[in-house]
């Protein structure tokens, strides 16, 4: 396995996430998520041949798809249903929480140091928001039940990574603490990683505060701290995020992202 030199931050993020996905898992792809989509397909086409991939509310296994798997910016794009093995009736997607997905990906308009996510809006008065967001989607359901999930940030800045979210769409670890989720009876495991263009964070087990897990190659610690509103827990030695292998990039660019969406920015 060679080490590739030239890759984008989005490609690195996709490769990092793909390595954390396991064979046999069920993956639910949300709307317009190029990095998570690439991560799922990369895992599927390399080490997870039994993954079930949910696209456009259909389930399929794509390992024998003979050409690049098409990308669409529209969640409902029916062309992605061509390999469907089953349909997920819209009103039944949430009817079986065990089999909704083994993991999922979540972005937000705010993410705080305990992994809570806000998709509703910013401001202090809900009836007069400064900025109205798109709404919570399925974030409450998925974050409640999924065994784990990943926070994925397209950009790393202080407006996104805040000390405390104005509104909670997806409860991560609330105000922190090992028992934060158990106290509310939430069965899912909560967020596992935050992945940004600069770094990976995880959650310190006792406090559930975000902790710097690795810096991407070439990124300085200061860059992260200057662009984050809270102080992440810092381990003694900060590892570097492992670079993609040339094999991973070959699959990524050849079969998953030939149009170069992840390289554009």
């Amino acid at each position: 396995m060679g080490c590739a030199e030239d890759y984008s931050a989005a490609e690195l993020m996709a490769v990092f996430l793909s390595r954390d996905l396991r064979d046999g898992e069920m993956a639910h792809l949300g709307a317009n998520q190029p990095v998570p989509r690439a991560a799922v397909l990369l895992a599927h086409l390399t080490h997870a041949p039994n993954m079930k991939v949910s696209q456009s509310l259909t389930l399929a296994n794509l390992i024998d798809v003979p050409r690049p798997v098409p990308y669409s910016e529209f969640f409902t794009d029916w062309r992605r249903a061509r390999w469907a093995e089953s349909y997920r009736l819209g009103h039944e997607v949430f009817a079986d929480v065990k089999r909704f997905a083994d993991f999922f990906f979540l972005g937000g308009i705010q993410i705080d140091r305990f992994g809570n996510v806000n998709l509703i809006g910013t401001g202090t008065d809900y009836r007069r928001l400064d900025f109205r967001g798109p709404g919570s989607g399925a974030a409450a359901m998925a974050s409640t039940f999924c065994p784990r999930y990943y926070l994925v940030a397209g950009d790393h800045n202080k407006r996104l990574l805040v000390d405390k979210v104005d509104f909670i769409s997806a409860f991560g670890f609330g105000d922190g603490g090992r028992e934060a989720r158990n106290a509310l009876g939430l069965p899912g495991g909560g967020p596992k990683y935050l992945v940004t263009p600069l770094c990976v964070m995880d959650f310190e087990p006792e406090t559930k505060r975000m902790r710097l897990a690795s810096l991407h190659p070439g990124v300085a610690l200061e860059q992260v701290l200057e662009n984050t509103s809270f102080d992440p827990v810092l381990p003694e030695n900060i590892p570097t995020t492992a670079a993609p292998t040339s094999e991973e990039l070959a699959v990524l660019r050849g079969r998953i992202d030939p149009q170069g969406t992840l390289r554009r920015g």
Partner: protein, 299 residues
């Protein structure tokens, strides 16, 4: 004895939309940028209906258009995005930020629970999703409670019922046996939560055609069926056509100017050209033009 005949339920879009009157609660089918009953929505706007409460679920620009046209007072919504076209509907955003629009803040599984309560004849459905979030605080209709068996913390979601659900589907026979192509999104749930259901379809087919695949019948008994080929335009329709990205951008640009900058000239022109200045769906298709429409056909 005369041989009895079944009653057909095919009506014009104007007849169908006349069921919807000021102050009603309507539910809109489809999901995000696909399969909304746009022909009916444009007709509702033409009829000047006011004060609607809209069960919109995970909505796209169809909701923004209804808000832009001044038809909506309140909306139950879990997601509102134009996806690649615009992150949040501009008129939805402006109306929500100003407080003019009342938002019944939901989330997809909470919305689904409310619809289900209505269908089941229950005052509420319990829901675990939302526990720990801000939703019960900003939507006081969602009541936190302890379940009567184990004492676990849950939310009680009240029944979300609609006077009329308006849906878009692939085909129907003349008697209201409707079949979707694809998953049908949440349309079955809206059917069950509504007192009356109007479905606009790409095509009217024979009863025999429906009976060839009875398992595909998704709405077994629409109260009214409206012929509306290409009727989800500018959104997509599974197996029929893709999104009209250029048209969606045309709307979004006009709405951004009106919602963001208060300059509603472009939006008024859009509404005049595509909705108010014409009288029915066939005229709308002529305005869009055959070349554009045919270019959207899915492969």
């Amino acid at each position: 004895m005369q041989h009895p005949r079944r009653r057909e339920v095919i009506v014009s879009e104007a007849q169908a939309a006349s069921w919807i009157t000021d102050g009603m609660t309507i539910a809109i089918g489809g999901l995000l940028s696909s399969s909304h009953p746009m022909a009916l929505i444009r007709q509702i706007i033409r009829q000047g209906v006011k004060g609607l409460t809209v069960l919109a679920g995970s909505a796209g620009l169809e909701l923004d258009l209804l808000i832009a046209a001044g038809c909506v007072d309140k909306v139950a919504v879990s997601l509102m995005t134009g996806e690649a076209v615009v992150a949040v509907g501009p008129m939805f955003r402006a109306a929500a930020q100003s407080g003019r629009l009342q938002v019944w803040e939901a989330e997809e599984s909470i919305y689904a629970a409310g619809l289900q309560a209505a269908a089941l004849g229950l005052p509420f459905m319990p829901c675990r999703a939302g526990v720990g979030t801000s939703l019960p605080r900003i939507n006081p209709d969602l009541k936190e409670f302890r379940d009567p068996i184990k004492g676990e913390p849950l939310l009680a979601v009240p029944a979300l019922r609609a006077d009329v659900a308006i849906l878009h589907a692939d085909r129907s026979d003349p008697y209201g046996n409707v079949q979707h192509e694809g998953t049908g999104f949440g349309d079955r749930a809206l059917f069950r939560a509504a007192d009356k259901v109007i479905v606009q379809v790409e095509k009217i087919v024979t009863n025999e055609e429906i009976r060839r695949r009875p398992e595909a019948t998704s709405i077994p008994g629409a109260d009214a069926v409206v012929r509306a080929p290409l009727g989800a335009h500018p959104g997509s329709c599974p197996g029929r056509y893709l999104e009209d990205l250029a048209h969606m951008k045309e709307y979004a640009d006009a709405a951004k100017e009106a919602g963001g900058k208060g300059n509603d000239g472009k939006l008024a022109s859009y509404l005049e050209r595509y909705v108010l200045g014409i009288t029915n769906h066939l005229e709308y298709l002529d305005v869009i033009g055959a070349g554009r429409l045919l270019s959207l056909q899915e492969f």
